[in-house]
Symmetry: C2
DNA sequence: ATCCTACGATGGACGTAGTCCAAGTCAAGA
DNA sequence: TCTTGACTTGGACTACGTCCATCGTAGGAT
């Protein structure tokens, strides 16, 4: 988490209290928060922080590759701070909880050239869906 | 496409001109339209059709499993009428065009039991991302 | 330690996607 | 042909996100 702040500073970020708080919220318990949830937690530490600032900061973190943006349902985007270890997501169709999972092999390998239609394919996002133990 | 109307009738659907038009739009050229695009095309055939009706009908088609809902970006959901042949999607990060693709094997097979955390996993949605030939 | 200034924060208006609901309409069975 | 409840309508409303003019401040320069 502090190394995140280090990396940001190294990239020329002006270190404001708002950005620090957003980074801390994300680095806290590793869950997949929506922008408004991040804002709510940030407000607890820095009451004046604006919603637009949270959106801006999240967008910058995504652009820098420090955070991954997920849209697993059609609802609000969620932000995944675990950007440096490749992984996929397992989503409960009942309650919406998201877990990071690690399938074996590279999902790109199973897409044959004939199925690529001339695209330069660079990544594969996999969303496994099912019911969690609490929602059976 | 007519068989779609048959199946809907068999399920007890009251066959209205609105529903017929929405089904026809989806069954037309097989692209992945947003709800508002479906509405625009429906209006061309039936000028009075309301946006809410298109949303309702699309929702019902999804619930019946006749159409698949996609949210590949954080934008509007897209509707895929090709629901009866399992497939995945290849999305161009440049222009957003979507192609149906068929990877080899079942993507569920590569998620080991230890990575399922007690979930009853029922499906895997894979989104391959890259650049299409026109966007290189 | 103080000053400067460009980068960042603010908050309120705005935009887009989608949902809700009360009232009216009509498909299809009697 | 009549009846009825399922379906449609359109406008208000909500959720999520973006934009922008103005203000504030981090951090380099002095």
């Amino acid at each position: 988490m502090n190394d995140l702040l280090e990396r940001l500073r190294a990239r020329g970020w002006r270190m404001t209290s708002q950005r620090r708080v957003v980074a801390e919220v994300l680095a806290g318990d590793h869950v997949h928060l929506t922008a408004d949830e991040v804002h709510a937690r940030a407000v607890a530490r820095l009451p004046e922080i604006a919603r637009a600032t949270v959106y801006n900061t999240l967008g910058e973190l995504v652009a820098l590759g420090e955070v991954v943006e997920l849209s697993t349902d059609g609802r609000a985007k969620r932000y995944d701070p675990n950007a440096h270890r490749p992984h996929q997501h397992l989503v409960c169709s009942g309650c919406g909880i998201i877990r990071d999972v690690h399938p074996t092999g590279d999902p790109l390998d199973v897409l044959p050239p004939a199925e690529r239609f001339g695209f330069t394919v660079s990544k594969a996002d996999v969303t496994y869906r099912g019911l969690c133990p609490a929602c059976v």
